[in-house]
């Protein structure tokens, strides 16, 4: 038991775990962006889940426990489900292979090369803090205290942002009243397709009473 504690308390196990999680994250990220076996967006979404989860592992290694939990809850739980929902809703056909865009290829290589140069330059010329045993713990309590004292105004602003986003999504995904064909009964949402079966005769009085202006 003590040997196990020594092992976990040392730096060997976290280091090995870091390399494992980092490799998993990068591998899955590559498969999200350029999967040689499948062009299906569902595959990309699934590998995005794996990327997110292994990144939560990296957060755990950085002792950001609360953020690791939030990462899994929000990203793997909500965002990816939303992605999958939309993919299924759109009913996409298998993306056919188009010839690769030369301009896009050149733009990608050049921008990634430039950003690599910036990164290496920064890494060389900046004195990074050297800490052998960092002590910071991103526990829920510490983060909550900071969030509700120093950062309470941004917290409220973010809540308003979420409200605005919700209203925006409802407005965007609502059917346009002008372009949508009017429902058979003249009521929004009730059309020929989704009218309940067997409602042909019995629904007629309802239809008449729903539009009193067209009564004989």
């Amino acid at each position: 038991m003590e040997a196990l504690n020594n092992l976990l308390g040392g730096t060997l196990v976290p280091d090995v775990l870091f390399y494992a999680f980092a490799a998993l994250t990068l591998l899955c990220a590559i498969l999200v962006v350029a999967n040689p076996f499948s062009r299906n967006p569902v595959t990309s979404a699934m590998f995005l889940v794996l990327t997110i989860i292994s990144m939560a592992g990296l957060f755990l290694l950085l002792h950001a426990f609360f953020l690791a939990a939030v990462q899994i809850l929000v990203y793997a739980g909500a965002v990816i489900v939303l992605f999958l929902f939309v993919i299924m809703l759109l009913d996409l056909k298998e993306e056919q292979r188009r010839r690769i865009n030369a301009f896009g290829f050149v733009a990608g290589v050049v921008s990634v090369g430039l950003i690599t140069a910036i990164f290496l330059k920064c890494l060389h010329h900046t004195a990074l803090p050297v800490v052998d045993q960092p002590v910071l713990e991103g526990s829920t309590e510490a983060l909550g205290k900071l969030l509700f004292t120093q950062y309470v105004l941004p917290f409220e602003v973010v809540s308003i942002l979420l409200l605005v986003a919700m209203i925006g999504v409802i407005l965007l995904s609502k059917k346009d009243a002008k372009t949508a064909p009017p429902g058979e009964l003249g009521l929004p949402g009730i059309t020929v397709e989704n009218k309940p079966k067997g409602a042909g005769e019995t629904a007629k009085p309802f239809a008449v009473s729903a539009r009193p202006g067209e009564e004989k």
Binding site: S44, L48, L58, A64, L92, L123, V130, L146
Partner: protein, 101 residues
């Protein structure tokens, strides 16, 4: 080699570069969106590691806000994609050229 800030920043940078490559080179709007998420996650990782190695919790608070904003952004963006698909029946960026001169 002992894992320090440099290693975490390298992983974060590689993730960011992958996301950038995906945004520029992929043609499917949904995959472009997933690559954007990848880039956001890369910055999150960088911020958390800065926070850890500078012994300040502020970086993690910023990450919290980034996650919130990213969730809102995904909801709005996917609603836009659905609205676009209703009008054009495509999510392929090369088919969306109505703003081309």
């Amino acid at each position: 080699m002992h894992v320090g800030l440099e290693q975490y920043l390298t992983v974060s940078f590689l993730l960011f570069a992958l996301g950038l490559l995906g945004v520029i080179m992929r043609r499917n709007l949904l995959v472009i969106y997933m690559s954007l998420e990848l880039m956001l996650n890369a910055t999150n990782l960088a911020l958390v590691s800065f926070s850890r190695f500078n012994d300040k919790l502020d970086g993690q608070v910023v990450v919290f806000f980034i996650i919130t904003v990213a969730a809102a952004e995904v909801a709005v963006g996917l609603a836009l994609i659905v609205a676009l698909y209703r009008k054009r029946q495509t999510v392929h960026v090369e088919d969306l050229t109505s703003m081309k001169l």
